[in-house]
């Protein structure tokens, strides 16, 4: 009570308190004298970044925060302020273009957001105010308002459900737009509130807004007016099941009333949509490094020129010859100031070496290039009618650089399409056979039957111990709807559908159905099942002890007709076995382990009869824990653990989770491409191991190094001592004794190297990562990492989601910072998807969370192969070439201009005309490289897919390392020298026309520029291995455009130009045979090294490619065509062929 007072008094300081108090209907509570409404934010959603007023300054500010834009702005300002050789237009125009295009794009995007916001904020909702229904705009909802929502409407803010039109006080919602799960979720009203909303006086105390969609704790104080004077205070606990989230949609329920608790930007949805941190690709880092080099080149060029200028000028008569005298102002200027302005002028003159257009082209390439992923019909999955999804185009090239693949198991490697395979009751194995089901009774024994009683108890347990809902066949809406869970699978024989959060549960319920026990549904806390005799049995559902990944089990407490209270529990063997009588374990353990090695998911089922006292205790404990505001989770778990003891084991189930289509082929291809595949799963070791075998991650020759709880507890040493021992042993084995591996090659086809597989489990991992004592923790950690890195495949089982991210982070930050990729389909993979360099989501069954947080989303695992081997490889090659080419072409563009300074008295005389300076990067040479960077396939997609080893050729950022950069730079320097000095020697006699007339400086520049444009374009043509008509069009088109433009530019007296310096220069140049000849020979000479390299490299490259191809055929003898395939390696695609 005191606490609430304080809350009220400090309403303004809400943020600092850990709970908030809400008055339902904004009515004062009887026990408070003064009602002070607390201030909460209104229900307006603002996702837009700008307003009309602040768009220009804010957008410009953000754009100029980019280092490149800022650099060009500085250059532009220098040009405006200082008297520089080139006009401000030459750098201002491209900058203006870039800034404008970006601003328009961002403005448009923000306009769309504004529109969406407005739509949401102006949406009319019904609010109950003083007993009347008032239509209000959604943005005007205040915290504490009672809101009415009708079917198929989305909730305008986060609501606590008070009253539902359904009689059992439930309502159904779908959260498809929040987390993509399209199944119907049941939410419950707070008991005792649904009587009369007008008379309801209550306060809600709940936690401050937090983004976790699935967590909510709160408490409701209801003041019941039973007699006029007496008010009874009732307290009810509130959980996520009472909270309706903004963005979710009401389904299958006519109308509900709820009180708003979080509004506007404080709703869970809004909190969840805050931007994520930008991922930057390795290529971008390379670009920045190269940029730095070029900046150094630029500055040193400017310094060299400035220094030489003053050295040269110090010679008598050079500084101010009589024909070029200075103005009085120039003479008066301070010497150092002059030097500084000279330096700036040189900077401006050479600034084109850092290409402004590269950023635009790279962005365009990434943006347009990502469409090819979306468009790829191979990624189209007819089942879900969707193709790949690109959430960010910044990482396209990173797909070609992946070194570590972290994959989830369930739903990623496997289909998450569960099928009940067999069960084991009391130690006897039951395997279901279709043919006998109806005639002989559903249970078909193989050797012996367990007792009838045990059998039925087991099946009842399967029918009762779950949270499955029956899809209501009566409602037409639901029949038509293709539901996220079950609708994907054709179920002709099945008249009832089930909805559950986990497909295992459906598989189990369906399994029980096959044996004659059908779950009919849950109605007002009463579960109905139809038994073998077609009688309906009813059980009162008392409590559900929810599943969570830490406990790895769930239980229900039910009461049957005869008044017995039963607890049914199902869960992973490791969590069940310690809680049952040990003598029962052995018979079943054998089955469980055999099933696990077969790759099935096993669950054990146990039960317990609760005496009245036991139940009363449990009930009280649960109620108390549920009402707790603090540490509710922990308290609940401790109560759960108390209740779930001393059970007796009934049996175990085996559910098959089939491998994804082509999972094994995909994994093999990834390993062949030099990637290391790590499986991170929450599943148990045996199951995960069998999946790994089935995916060929582990092969028969693979020696497994196991670092799990099992191997640690063998002896009577302490765990950390044993851990250290094992780590050292494995380290010696896998790292020290292994022959040194050549970089880039991790698993060659024919070597006799021992392959190692490493298995670690979550508990051990946390021991390594967060050791209790930290004396040799760092050594353990480094050993662990090195063992992991030298193994071909690593399996991490029993992982919590955060541990997955921890592993990814560890590898990501290890030496050489390898590129990591995470692929997963479920909410539990989100953390690792966000952590890895590239996150891939699979549009699987576990909702859309992974897809939403991923960078790329694909429908199936098998698509990963093409995404990486073909798309990733090509994107990387394209962008790497793009970057190198850009630096190269600007180097040989500016180098002649630099060299010219030595011949013009360091006077910053530009070699090229301003039009050429401006247009070079924008028009003359931009399109061919863009087309190249979008269309190039230096190796065809088929070969890339067929021959995974090709992926290794570009590993470790091979095309953007310093060596290739140096090569390109030297090429640029060589060509720049060629261009300049070739023309220089020609101009030793400037009489180049047959009429004896001489050429001037602009002719000189134009000849150099013509050679330059042709050479860099033809250089690209030489590099192009894949000439589509577009390439032809842009390459020849660019050259034609250059010639056309030059004619045009020099053919007219342009009235807006002060100097007609290029007038007829180009045409005169073409009339000179010598100019033609020098252009031809310089182009050829510049390209000669390149041609030679292509020619001399070609035969080798070509043949090795063929060789590799044949090798891969030899090595890949386990490819689908071969007949001798181990039994374990079956996949869905194999089995779908008619076996019977």
């Amino acid at each position: 009570m005191l606490r609430r007072r304080i809350n009220r008094l400090c309403g303004g300081d809400e943020k600092r308190l850990d709970s908030r108090t809400i008055y339902v209907g904004n009515r004062p509570c009887p026990d408070t004298e003064a009602f002070i409404p607390s201030k909460f934010c209104d229900n307006r959603i603002v996702s837009s970044k700008y307003t009309v007023w602040n768009f220009l300054p804010k957008n410009l500010f953000e754009q100029f925060r980019r280092i490149a834009n800022f650099y060009f702005l500085i250059i532009f300002l220098v040009q405006v302020i200082v008297d520089t050789p080139t006009s401000p237009v030459t750098s201002g125009l491209p900058l203006f273009f870039v800034i404008t295009v970006t601003a328009i794009k961002q403005g448009y995007e923000d306009w769309l957001r504004h529109k969406a916001d407005k739509e949401v904020n102006k949406y009319l909702v019904t609010v109950l105010e003083d007993g009347r229904s008032v239509r209000k705009e959604s943005e005007k909802i205040k915290v504490g308002d009672v809101v009415e929502v009708v079917e198929d409407e989305t909730f305008p803010c986060d609501l606590i459900l008070l009253e539902s039109s359904r009689e059992d006080g439930t309502c159904f919602v779908t959260t498809a737009s929040l987390d993509g799960e399209s199944n119907h979720k049941t939410h419950y009203t707070v008991s005792d509130t649904e009587k009369d909303l007008q008379a309801l006086t209550a306060t809600i105390e709940c936690e401050q807004p937090q983004p976790d969609l699935y967590k909510f704790v709160g408490r409701m104080h209801i003041y019941q007016q039973e007699q006029e004077q007496e008010q009874e205070l009732v307290v009810r606990s509130l959980g996520p099941e009472n909270l309706l989230l903004k963005g979710a949609t009401l389904k299958n329920t006519k109308k509900i009333y709820g009180v708003s608790v979080y509004t506007g930007m404080e709703t869970k949805m809004a909190l969840n949509y805050q931007g994520k941190s930008q991922k930057r690709s390795a290529v971008e880092k390379s670009i920045n490094a190269f940029l730095l080099v070029y900046l150094c080149i630029l500055i040193s060029k400017a310094i060299v020129c400035t220094t030489l200028k003053y050295v040269w000028q110090s010679k008598a008569g050079q500084d101010e010859p009589w024909y070029n005298q200075k103005t009085q102002k120039e003479k008066d200027t301070n010497m150092y100031l002059k030097m500084f302005t000279d330096f700036l002028s040189f900077m401006v003159l050479f600034n084109f070496i850092i290409p402004v257009s590269m950023y635009v082209t790279v962005e365009m390439q990434k943006f347009l290039g990502s469409f090819f992923i979306t468009w790829d019909k191979d990624f189209f999955d007819p089942e879900i009618e969707e193709g790949a999804l690109v959430n960010t185009s910044d990482l396209n090239e990173e797909l070609g650089q992946v070194e570590y693949v972290f994959t989830d198991k369930t739903g990623t490697l496997t289909q998450n399409n569960m099928e009940f395979i067999e069960c084991c009751i009391d130690g006897f194995q039951y395997r279901y056979r279709d043919t006998l089901s109806e005639v002989d009774g559903p249970v078909n024994n193989q050797q012996q039957n367990a007792g009838q009683e045990k059998e039925e108890l087991f099946l009842r347990a399967l029918c009762l111990c779950h949270t499955v809902q029956v899809k209501e066949a009566g409602s037409e809406v639901l029949v038509d709807e293709v539901d996220g869970m079950d609708g994907l699978l054709p179920q002709p024989e099945q008249e009832t559908g089930f909805i559950a959060s986990s497909p295992d549960e459906i598989a189990l319920v369906k399994g029980a159905m096959k044996y004659g026990f059908t779950f009919l549904g849950l109605e007002s806390k009463c579960m109905k099942i139809k038994n073998r005799q077609n009688d309906i049995e009813e059980y009162k559902l008392l409590h559900v002890l929810n599943f969570d990944p830490v406990r790895r089990r769930m239980s229900v407490i039910v009461q049957n007709n005869s008044g017995e209270t039963l607890l049914f529990c199902k869960g992973a063997d490791s969590s069940i076995f310690p809680r049952v009588r040990p003598e029962e374990v052995d018979r079943i353990r054998m089955h469980v382990e055999r099933n696990a090695t077969d790759g099935y998911r096993t669950l054990c089922v146990a039960y317990k009869k609760l005496s009245a006292e036991e139940y009363a205790m449990a009930d009280a404990g649960l109620m108390e824990a549920r009402l707790a505001l603090q540490d509710r989770e922990e308290r609940l778990i401790s109560v759960y653990n108390q209740v779930e003891t001393g059970m007796s084991l009934i049996g175990a189930t085996a559910v098959e989770d089939r491998l994804q289509e082509e999972a094994a082929e995909t994994m093999e291809a990834l390993q062949g491409a030099g990637m290391k595949v790590w499986v991170l799963t929450g599943d148990k070791m045996e199951t995960a191991k069998s999946t790994c075998y089935a995916c060929r991650l582990f092969q028969r020759g693979t020696e497994l190094l196991e670092l799990t709880v099992r191997t640690l507890k063998d002896e009577d040493k302490k765990r950390d001592v044993k851990l250290k021992e094992l780590l050292q042993e494995y380290y010696k084995k896998a790292v020290l004794d292994a022959p040194p591996v050549r970089p880039g090659v991790t698993r060659s086809w024919s070597t006799a190297n021992q392959d190692y597989g490493f298995i670690v489990d979550g508990a051990t991992l946390s021991l390594v990562m967060n050791p209790p004592c930290d004396d040799d923790a760092s050594q353990n950690k480094s050993f662990f990492l090195q063992i992991c890195q030298s193994c071909t495949a690593v399996l991490c089982c029993r992982m919590a989601p955060l541990q997955k991210a921890q592993i990814v982070k560890m590898v990501k930050n290890s030496k050489g910072s390898p590129i990591t990729l995470s692929i997963g389909d479920g909410a539990n993979d989100v953390s690792m998807i966000l952590e890895a360099h590239v996150g891939i989501g699979i549009k699987g069954k576990e909702g859309r969370q992974a897809v939403r947080n991923s960078d790329y989303a694909i429908p199936k695992l098998k698509h990963l192969k093409k995404l990486l081997l073909a798309h990733g490889h090509l994107y990387y090659v394209r962008i790497a070439h793009l970057v190198q080419y850009f630096f190269y072409k600007n180097l040989c563009f500016i180098l002649p201009q630099f060299l010219y300074q030595f011949f013009c008295g360091y006077s910053q005389q530009p070699l090229y005309d301003a039009a050429y300076l401006t247009m070079y990067n924008i028009c003359f040479t931009s399109m061919p490289i863009l087309a190249y960077s979008l269309l190039e396939q230096h190796i065809s997609i088929e070969i890339l897919l067929h021959n995974a080893a090709l992926y290794r050729e570009i590993a470790n950022n091979a095309m953007l390392r310093w060596r290739p950069f140096l090569y390109w730079t030297l090429l640029g320097i060589f060509q720049g020298l060629m261009f300049f000095f070739g023309v220089r020697f020609l101009f030793s006699n400037p009489a180049l026309q047959d009429n004896g007339q001489v050429f001037g400086n602009w002719s000189y520049g134009t000849i150099v520029f013509t050679v330059l444009v042709f050479t860099v374009t033809l250089k690209l043509a030489l590099d192009t291995r894949h000439w589509t008509w577009i390439n032809h069009f842009v390459i020849w088109g660019s050259l034609a455009f250059y010639v056309f433009f030059s004619f045009f530019w020099g053919g007219i007296i342009w009235p807006f130009l002060k100097q007609q310096r290029l007038y007829f220069v180009f045409a005169n140049m073409l009339s000179s045979v010598s100019a033609w000849l020098v252009i031809i020979i310089l182009i050829l000479l510049s390209l000669l090294p390149e041609i030679l390299l292509v020619v001399l490299r070609k035969p080798r490259g070509h043949h090795s490619q063929q060789k590799k191809q044949s090798q891969s055929n030899v090595g890949g003898n386990q490819s689908p065509e071969s007949s001798t395939r181990p039994l374990l390696m079956r996949t869905f695609s194999d089995e779908s062929s008619p076996v019977v």
Partner: protein, 358 residues
């Protein structure tokens, strides 16, 4: 360009919209979207490369030989007349006190100097390509726009006004520094001087003469009065309208010597066309014999260590004499031929080794 920021952090409405779109949009199955456009994949096989190199090499060799031979046939006669050495004929003109100085350079030709002979003057260590120098002119004046005669552009400073603040036309450093040595060529036949006619037409670019530069329109029928209120550039002996009083078509801004000077040279060592020898007895060339060149020495170059020279040359289809091109073609051509041979060897070797592998 932050396209990703929007795409990733979209509102749920965006996401839903996107989902719906995708569901309806099956990817287009076109060659372009599937990256399956028909494409030519150039395979630089030895069968193409080796003959290709050979052909290019031979062609270049051919061109190179032609260029080289042509260049060899071109006759050039260069004479430095700066007068640095004491015994040179123009030495006495180098002293600044000598205002109007004439000197005579004699030379003899042993064979016929084939015509048409082109007469160039050359300057070295003279930077016509200074940036400030290069922009120091007013194109509006030079197109004959008299409005700009009174107010020259700022870039002309300090060559825009004389000491009395009268506007200079044509203004600017280039015009002001116009080369003003003049030459007369005589053939000495039996001790008597026979003047060789020099043709001053057609030495500038056709477009410069006909389009780019324009004279101001005559005022009251007098060309000179169009320049009223302006003064001649300080270094000029005569005003612009007096450059060639004999030929009105060669006067003013359209004076060919002026036009040649205004086209800036690319390098600090350059030559510019002065006259052609195309007329009379000398149309076929300068016959063998002794000649005397009278130099009206006006242009100072020694202050910046410059040199002046005259060049007599005839031209071919490739222009003036230039050995560089011919040699370059010969080198590259032979390089290509050698390369093709090397490649043939390399290719043969690889082919055999491949056979071994197979």
């Amino acid at each position: 360009m932050r396209k990703s920021s929007c795409r990733r952090g979209g509102t749920p409405e965006d996401i839903r919209m996107k989902n719906e779109e995708e569901a309806s949009e099956r990817p287009d199955n076109t060659a372009f979207t599937q990256q399956q456009l028909p494409a030519w994949q150039p395979v630089l096989s030895a069968g193409i490369i080796i003959p290709g190199f050979l052909i290019i090499g031979l062609a270049f060799l051919g061109i190179g030989i032609a260029l080289f031979l042509t260049s060899q046939t071109i006759q050039v006669l260069e004479m430095d007349y700066t007068g640095v050495e004491k015994d040179s004929p123009c030495f006495r003109c180098t002293s600044p006190s000598n205002q109007t100085c004439t000197c005579e350079v004699t030379f003899s030709l042993s064979t016929l100097f084939t015509g048409p002979v082109f007469f160039y003057y050359g300057l070295s260590n003279y930077f016509q390509n200074f940036r400030k120098y290069g922009v120091s002119k007013d194109d509006y004046q030079l197109t004959g726009d008299t409005q700009y005669f009174k107010s020259p552009r700022d870039v002309c400073f300090p060559y825009a006004h004389d000491s009395k603040n009268n506007p200079i036309v044509p203004c600017g450093a280039i015009a002001s520094s116009m080369f003003n040595d003049t030459f007369e060529l005589y053939q000495i036949i039996n001790g008597t001087k026979k003047k060789v006619p020099l043709d001053g037409k057609g030495i500038s670019w056709w477009t410069d003469y006909n389009i780019k530069y324009r004279n101001p329109l005559p005022v009251n029928g007098s060309f000179a009065s169009a320049f009223d209120g302006t003064v001649k550039p300080i270094n000029w002996p005569k005003a612009a309208y007096e450059l060639d009083l004999t030929d009105p078509n060669n006067n003013g801004f359209l004076n060919q010597d002026f036009l040649v000077w205004m086209r800036r040279a690319a390098l600090p060592q350059f030559r510019k066309l002065y006259r052609r020898i195309t007329e009379g007895d000398y149309a076929t060339g300068l016959p063998a014999g002794n000649y005397s060149l009278t130099v009206y020495y006006n242009y100072p170059v020694l202050s910046f260590d410059g040199r002046k020279k005259v060049v007599f040359s005839n031209v071919s289809w490739m222009g003036g004499k230039n050995d560089f091109l011919g040699i370059a073609y010969l080198v590259v051509g032979s390089l290509c031929v050698v390369m093709s041979v090397v490649m043939l060897i390399v290719y043969a070797k690889f082919k055999f080794s491949d056979d071994d592998d197979a």
